[in-house]
């Protein structure tokens, strides 16, 4: 029990530090300098109604490229770690109980709707709360539902890899076009900025975010497929 005591002491110390932070915290009354710049310049410069999207896709677009790369690496490493545990094609398969009427019918009904919602979320990423990462996660939840209904379902890794690499290449390609046609890497003004609040506005942001959505959806789906293809233990 000495270990438990040590843990509690450590957490008490950390809690003391946190309590000090909360006690010393005073909320700002106005936006700080960076946030004020984004609030005042997003509408004219970027044309995106959702300022968070403008930051993620354009102001800090390079970071998002890095983030997508981290996600790609994760999906690749999960596949690599699990590749040896993959079930052999001719290995005997334990009989699985049927997934049940509710789940089967519910999946048939909901999967197209979930895919539609995912596409809606990432196409409207520059107007509404949402965007490529959220939409991609929603797309992958449709794949998760398919896998829940039929755990033996095999999703084509070739198709997932094709979607993912095409989307990634187009994302980088649009970024390079920004260097050639506009102010710099991932500049969204290679297309007209349009009227604030329209679907076709904010330059290249809807296109970039749609491809990010496809890429994230493909990466999450490949993680789910890899985890589900492991041997039953």
């Amino acid at each position: 029990m000495i270990r438990r005591l040590f843990v509690i002491l450590l957490l008490l110390g950390l809690g003391g530090v946190f309590a000090g932070l909360v006690a010393g915290y005073s909320p700002d009354d106005a936006l700080n300098l960076t946030a004020r710049y984004y609030a005042e310049h997003t509408a004219q410069d970027i044309g995106a109604a959702n300022i968070v999207t403008a930051i993620i896709v354009t102001y800090r677009g390079l970071d998002t490229l890095g983030e997508v790369t981290v996600l790609f690496l994760t999906a690749a490493i999960v596949g690599m770690v699990l590749v040896q545990s993959r079930r052999k094609a001719d290995a005997p398969q334990r009989a699985l109980p049927p997934s049940g009427e509710l789940l089967t019918t519910g999946t048939r009904l909901l999967v197209p709707l979930i895919l539609l919602l995912g596409v809606y979320v990432f196409v409207n990423g520059h107007l509404t709360p949402g965007g490529g990462f959220q939409g991609g996660a929603i797309l992958a939840s449709a794949v998760l539902m398919l896998l829940l209904t039929d755990p033996l379902l095999r999703i084509g890794h070739g198709l997932i890899a094709a979607i993912e690499s095409t989307a990634g290449l187009i994302f980088v390609g649009i970024g390079v076009l920004g260097i050639l046609l506009a102010g710099g890497f991932l500049d969204n003004r290679i297309l007209p900025i349009g009227d604030l609040g329209n679907l076709f506005s904010a330059g290249a942001i809807p296109i970039i975010y749609s491809f990010i959505g496809l890429k994230v959806g493909a990466e999450f789906s490949s993680m789910l497929a890899n985890l589900s293809e492991t041997e039953d233990l």
Partner: protein
């Protein structure tokens, strides 16, 4: 309001660390880490909150001219969006490694893995 979210976030971090340090089961440790991760995200969003303001989306409620006076700080939200995605990646990696560990020893009890213990 910001204080409630801030305190909840810190409490979630502490709960998550307690769970990760006291549980012996690897899956429970992974769940505890995601709880702590949620706490960190909550703290970051709470720091960007300004009282009486609205979400950083320009629409009828937030005219462009008054944006700086009406919206909360968009920067922590963008950071947390990134953090959530990376958190998902970390969780997936931990689960994959947990699976491989289970394959080697057929147990998820971390005290049975003694190779690096001193």
């Amino acid at each position: 309001m910001a204080y409630i979210a801030l305190t909840t976030g810190f409490v979630l971090i502490l709960i998550g660390l307690y769970g990760a340090l006291t549980n012996r089961n690897i899956l429970r440790m992974i769940v505890a880490f995601t709880v702590a991760n949620t706490g960190v995200n909550l703290v970051m969003v709470a720091v960007g909150y300004l009282h009486g303001r609205t979400a950083p989306i320009l629409n009828e409620a937030v005219p462009v001219e008054q944006a700086a006076a009406r919206i909360i700080d968009p920067l922590p939200q963008a950071l947390v969006l990134t953090a959530i995605v990376i958190g998902v990646g970390v969780t997936a990696l931990m689960l994959a490694y947990a699976y491989r560990l289970y394959e080697t020893k057929r147990t998820l009890d971390i005290s049975k893995y003694t190779e690096l213990k001193w």
